[in-house]
């Protein structure tokens, strides 16, 4: 006895909407009847964030909801004057943000008064295709990079991981290899300072937290945060040098800090 003969279509829609976007795609490969349910708007509307209409441009609203979903997954939208990008994580439909270099606050100490401006534009090849500008940390003695985001902008009931997205200018930049940086994530409800000390050196074996993103950038995990109800609170994250040295820093390019749901 076929399930599609027993269950009315709106029940099937409900059932599939309680699974996941990946499951809904697989369901569309099962049979004709299942496909028409698995692809329907009622299902995909449930996978979209509740405020999706205010996020995407109105021209997209005429698309089927499944198309809107995948559009939001594969096309990051620039928000906050082009300093942050937003997209959906495709397996779960949860919100992902990347704070571009311009959305972060950076404090640096210079040895002398010559201040090379840290921003560079993407006219150089292979740089960010997301943001017009990235931060090129150059000739500083000490740096702290901080960012924050309101937790109500994040998806509720989601475990987020925060990554610093960067690249080293070349293999031979020795400065970061020998000094650790502290990476920490803190929300303003009283939480212990979780300072993770990391050597930003992806070429060593102990690079536990560092990964290649596959788009020319690397990422280092800064910490994790469980967003429950996402009520009014602010999440802060920072990278800061924990040691001083006689060498100045040179050769790290920061695209931004990304928050995305944890892979299971």
């Amino acid at each position: 006895m076929e399930i599609t003969r027993i269950l009315p279509e709106d029940c099937l829609c409900l059932i599939i909407s309680l699974t996941s976007p990946a499951d809904a795609c697989r369901s569309a490969m099962v049979s004709h009847a299942f496909r028409s349910v698995a692809d329907c708007d009622a299902v995909w509307e449930k996978f979209l964030p509740s405020d999706y209409r205010s996020i995407i441009s109105s021209s997209l609203l005429s698309l089927g909801k499944k198309d809107v979903y995948f559009h939001m997954c594969f096309h990051p939208i620039l928000i906050q004057n082009g300093t942050m990008s937003f997209q959906l994580e495709k397996e779960s439909g949860k919100k992902c943000y990347m704070l571009g270099a311009k959305a972060l606050s950076m404090i640096w100490l210079l040895r002398d008064t010559f201040m090379p401006f840290p921003w560079i534009s993407t006219s150089l090849p292979g740089l960010s295709d997301r943001f017009p500008e990235v931060a090129n940390i150059n000739l500083v003695w000490w740096i702290e990079v901080k960012g924050k985001i309101e937790t109500r902008n994040l998806s509720p009931n989601t475990n987020y991981v925060i990554y610093l997205v960067f690249k080293l200018r070349d293999r031979h930049t020795i400065e970061f290899k020998h000094r650790t940086v502290g990476l920490h994530v803190n929300d303003d409800r009283v939480a212990p300072w979780e300072l993770r000390r990391v050597l930003i050196d992806p070429y060593r074996c102990e690079a536990l937290y560092i990964r290649d993103r596959g788009d020319g950038w690397m990422e280092v995990e800064m910490g994790q945060f469980l967003n429950e109800c996402g009520d009014d609170g602010t999440l802060e994250f920072s990278l800061r040098e924990t040691e001083t040295s006689n060498f100045h820093n040179r050769g790290i390019i920061i695209e931004g800090i990304e928050l995305r749901p944890k892979d299971n």
């Binding site: 076929e2 599609t4 029940c11 499951d23 594969f74 892979d263």
Partner: protein, 335 residues
């Protein structure tokens, strides 16, 4: 003094049920209040056909427990967990029955249970569990994935699909050598693709005229080389629709291709021969590292297309991320 409500199931049998239990179901509530039914055997409420005596009994068990106001959430949850332990078919029937009685909490409970059953399963497993027919045609399984997003991976996958479709068609056409017939079929594939890819008439027109020019240029080349090489050149184009248009043109010029096409050739097509034609349509929007990654993924896909089928395709697309290795196994479990 307890009052009872009389209910009649679809098989004709009538029973009486305590009022507070029966009234937990909105549909029954409505019948009693709005229509004054159910007060005696003669005026028994006719329940919907999805509610057979077995289902009614289950539903009444559920109502009997939950209509008691004093129970804690923990107790209710515990009851629910034990209650839904039944085989899949019963779960489906129960969902349907509860839905017809508008008993939403029970519908939610059973739906969640069924959702958990579906989660993580491959399409053929789902078919087996729910006794569904494998009635999608090969064409439908190879239907281009909607590329509203212009994701380069989707474009390449669509090209793979187009190739496979072409192969299927060519196998059929071994019987008919008429080029005219080929023309007709090509049009429908093009139309289908262009509709799905959202192109309007104008852009398509421009592209086909461009490709016609290229075809005239390449006519000599085509005649001396095999069909695969020609399509290889054509398929460097930057979007799926372009490539299909051009392949369609190619088909008109060449005689029917032999049936020896297989996906090994498809793989070759995806790694284009960049030296030969240097026109502006080459994929320069994908940067080399990303392109490498895509090529590797597509190679994987092509290999797997040979063994297990488009369900993997959808699965891979929906699951695979560049950052995470894609785990596939032939026994049908997703990663």
């Amino acid at each position: 003094m307890k009052s009872y409500i009389w209910l009649q199931t679809v098989d004709g049998s009538i029973q009486q049920v305590e009022q507070e239990i029966a009234m937990f179901c909105p549909m029954i509530c409505h019948e009693v209040i709005q229509k004054g039914m159910g007060s005696s055997k003669n005026y028994a409420i006719s329940l919907p056909q999805q509610v057979n005596p077995a289902m009614l009994s289950l539903i009444l068990d559920y109502c009997r427990f939950h209509q008691v106001p004093g129970r804690s959430n923990k107790e209710r949850k515990s009851f629910d967990e034990k209650f839904i332990r039944m085989d899949t078919k019963r779960l489906c029937e129960l969902t349907s029955a509860a839905d017809s009685l508008q008993l939403k909490p029970l519908v939610d409970l059973t739906s969640r249970a069924l959702a958990r059953i579906i989660e993580g399963k491959a399409p053929e497993e789902i078919r087996e569990i729910f006794h569904l027919p494998d009635d999608l045609t090969e064409e439908e399984k190879l239907e281009p994935l909607k590329n509203a997003t212009d994701d380069p991976r989707i474009r390449l996958l669509n090209r793979l699909y187009a190739k496979k479709r072409k192969e299927l068609k060519e196998r059929e056409k071994l019987k008919n050598v008429e080029v005219d017939e080929e023309l007709v079929d090509d049009r429908s594939v093009d139309d289908l693709l262009s509709f799905i890819n959202g192109d309007d008439g104008d852009s398509k027109g421009i592209k086909t005229s461009k490709s016609k020019k290229k075809n005239r240029r390449r006519k000599d080349l085509l005649k001396s080389t095999s069909a695969h090489e020609a399509t290889k050149n054509h398929n460097k184009e930057s979007n799926g629709l372009n490539s299909v248009c051009r392949s369609a043109e190619v088909r008109q010029i060449l005689p029917s291709v032999g049936a020896t096409t297989n996906l090994q050739d498809v793989e070759d097509d995806i790694f284009p021969n960049k030296n030969e034609f240097d026109d502006g349509d080459i994929d320069d929007e994908i940067d080399p590292t990303l392109k490498e990654k895509i090529d590797r993924e597509v190679e994987d896909f092509a290999r797997r297309l040979n063994s297990d089928w488009p369900e993997r395709m959808q699965e891979i697309l929906s699951l695979g991320q560049e950052k995470k290795p894609v785990h596939l196994s032939l026994n049908g479990k997703g990663s």
